[in-house]
């Protein structure tokens, strides 16, 4: 899957140095960079990219680590775990819209507090959403990255002997949270490091969330790159390419900075362990972390609720908590459009997710049959397409396709989606696939089943649930893709996500409500099916109920 990434980077590199034959320009020249650095908004855009990315990663990682440290194994934690799959599957754009509808000056929170607490009888003139500092955007990223990091942490916890370590630490007089941080965290972090890097790279270069929640003047660097890309003047692509290269350098720099931060935190941690502090504020810290986690989960769920209300809202004046009347008119008006977009979304998502699933099963089965093992380096290779910012190689890929005269459209969009879907499908299925009891295979072979028979008649049926879950993950990732669809589709492939994000500038909340809900449904329904189908198929098989 590295092919498109490398090709895209190459396609970014050439125009960044002024080489774009399609526009009659041949390089090399440094003009694109000169233009880029002459853009007055650049320092601000770069700063935004850095602050939102690093802040969102630090905050979501802290929430996840402290919640897990203080609460793993308890009842509130299990409640949070149950919310995980639905929260994960909510597309970034829908979550961002929901958040915007909550915190905006005319949003639900302001309505609840008005006019009694605030005294407002019309929306105040405050820049909460799209604030200059990108705080709303950071919040939008945090609410989506917390469930992702929590899932990864839970997977890593399964491979560490966490409970006994904490028990020992507690017997030595350490608080639950401090004991966990001092004994379990170093082991867990070593395992979740690649996904943490993915979160950092993603948060720095995200486009859809930035369009919805981020500032406009200037926007973050990634959004500006996309603006340049969609400019009809081909020469602007050179500036876009230069910007994309700068984005890549920024992400690499931030990753290096993060690595340094890891070393510093590690040193300080050793010193903290050596002090023997038992953790007197554990209760407070754990409580605060749980509170923040609950707020971030609630933000997504309430956001979806407010999207739902808007989608059926008639006249709704401020500061009323609910609309004056409910109506299906919005759905009737936007229904046909959403159905077209849903068809396109589903066609792309199903094709891509199925291909990704087949490739993943093929890889894992080959690994099993030929006794191969993926090294730590292989894992990084898998994460690489997720670590390179989308804005760095997708513009290049588009330019390259245009130069080759290739028809941009659905096929290339599917290929681009596959680059991002495959790693998630693989990461989702790999652990359960490898955890399958190999003696089952030995028994089946001893009973005369061929390798293919073992796979199709024993292994995959037993792994029905993880296989369907991986498929649902693939579908959700594909449904949520914004930039690949926009750039590689050349604006001609309209999915629910591209349509929804396109509505952001218009501010038609009823239309956004309809599209946001459809988008969420497209991602959420497969997850529900992935839970229901195995429960139905294996309803008389107790041995598979928890597997």
């Amino acid at each position: 899957m590295l092919g498109p990434v490398v090709a895209g980077l190459w396609g970014t590199l050439l125009p960044a140095f002024g080489h774009l034959p399609a526009a009659g320009l041949t390089g090399p020249s440094l003009d694109p960079f000169r233009d880029l650095f002459a853009w007055a908004g650049l320092p601000r855009a770069v700063l935004l990219s850095l602050t939102t990315g690093v802040l969102a990663t630090v905050i979501s990682l802290s929430i996840v680590v402290l919640i897990t440290a203080g609460w793993s194994g308890t009842r509130p934690f299990r409640a949070l775990e149950r919310l995980l799959s639905p929260l994960l599957s909510v597309p970034h754009a829908a979550a961002a819209f929901g958040l915007a509808f909550l915190i905006a000056p005319s949003g639900w929170i302001a309505r609840v507090l008005s006019p009694h607490v605030t005294g407002w009888d019309r929306p105040p003139d405050l820049l909460i959403v799209q604030d200059t500092w990108g705080l709303a955007m950071t919040a939008g990223l945090v609410v989506k990255e917390v469930p992702f990091l929590l899932l990864i942490t839970l997977a890593a916890l399964g491979q560490t002997d966490a409970r006994r370590s904490v028990t020992i630490a507690q017997a030595l007089g350490y608080g639950r949270l401090t004991g966990w941080l001092k004994t379990v965290f170093p082991r867990v972090y070593a395992q979740i490091r690649p996904p943490v890097y993915v979160v950092l790279a993603y948060a720095m270069s995200v486009v859809d969330v930035a369009v919805i929640l981020g500032p406009n003047t200037p926007p973050s660097l990634s959004v500006q790159i996309v603006k340049w890309m969609s400019n009809p003047d081909l020469a602007m692509r050179l500036e876009a390419a230069a910007g994309a290269l700068l984005q890549l350098v920024l992400v690499i720099g931030a990753l290096a900075f993060w690595r340094l931060g890891e070393i510093v935190v590690g040193r300080l941690g050793h010193r903290w362990i050596a002090t023997g502090a038992r953790g007197r504020c554990d209760g407070m810290v754990a409580g605060a972390a749980l509170g923040l986690g609950a707020v971030s989960a609630l933000a997504v769920l309430l956001g979806l609720a407010v999207l739902a209300v808007w989608s059926v809202a008639g006249f709704w004046s401020f500061p009323d908590l609910l609309p004056d009347q409910f109506t299906w008119r919005n759905w009737l008006r936007h229904g046909p459009g959403t159905l077209d977009a849903l068809g396109e979304t589903a066609l792309i998502a199903v094709t891509v997710a199925v291909v990704a699933l087949l490739l993943t099963i093929g890889c894992l089965e080959a690994e099993y049959r030929y006794g191969l093992r993926i090294s730590q380096r292989g894992i990084w290779l898998l994460y690489l397409p997720l670590l390179i910012p989308q804005t760095a190689f997708l513009p290049g890929l588009q330019t390259l396709l245009l130069n080759m005269g290739a028809d941009i459209g659905r096929g290339p969009v599917m290929l681009a989606h596959l680059v991002f879907v495959l790693p998630y499908v693989f990461l989702s299925l790999a652990d359960p696939f490898r955890a399958w009891d190999l003696r089952m295979g030995t028994i089946a072979a001893a009973l005369g089943a061929s390798p293919g028979g073992v796979l199709w008649r024993v292994r995959l049926p037993m792994l029905l649930r993880p296989v369907l879950t991986a498929l649902a993950v693939g579908l959700a990732v594909s449904v949520g893709q914004y930039l690949p669809t926009l750039l590689i589709g050349g604006g001609r492939v309209a999915t629910l996500t591209t349509e929804a994000v396109a509505l952001a500038s218009g501010g038609d909340r009823r239309a956004i409500g309809v599209y946001g809900l459809m988008q969420t449904g497209a991602a959420l329904v497969p997850f529900a099916l992935a839970l229901m189908i195995p429960a139905l198929v294996w309803r008389n098989r107790k041995g598979l109920r928890h597997g």
């Binding site: 006794g371 093992r373 009891d437 190999l438 003696r439 089952m440 295979g441 030995t442 028994i443 089946a444 072979a445 001893a446 009973l447 005369g448 089943a449 061929s450 390798p451 028979g453 073992v454 008649r457 024993v458 049926p461 037993m462 029905l464 294996w538 008389n540 098989r541 107790k542 041995g543 598979l544 597997g547």
Partner: protein, 212 residues
Amino acid sequence: MDKGLTLRDVTITKGGAPLLSVDHHIGPGDVLTVMGPSGVGKSTLLAFITGTLAPDFAASGTVWLDGHNITHAAPHMRRVGILFQDDLLFPHLSVGANLAFGLRPGGRAADRQARVDEALDEVGLAGFADRDPATLSGGQKARVALMRMLLSDPCALLLDEPFSRLDAALRAQVRDMVFDRAKARALPVLMVTHDAEDARAAGGVIVTLGDG
């Protein structure tokens, strides 16, 4: 070449260090018991014979079954049956479908069904064909696992600590059932165990690996 299972100069190494060496012929209906504490690679020997040796091990020597060299045959072509300490019934299949999984392909559906019912009847589980294996008791599961393996017409039988999960009362009963059927079908049996009583009950030659 004789009937039976022959291990000729079999040596298994891990990372160059020798783990175990066996050179032995097991005649039809005979039992060879390999004893030793856990961790000496007893199960590795069985994995070599079934053709499922993990890649970090290397093995030399040859395995002969009824005069055929099966050292390099594909696992599913070897006709070597194996029972583990866990029943390992396929959890997604009914008891009957588990047994039918062992039957060689071919024949009419009714005949296959009849053979499955017969096998269930033989171990006192008549009418269990549609049951979910997870609802069976430990002893019942062990019997189904045994019959599933026998229905695949193996030419040799490997036992990997097969009785260690069963409680004392069941243990003797299941053990007798396994050895009786192996003897009745004149199967060579190779058992690995760390349990002296199992070894005694097997009544064959005992080889002790490791420091013994």
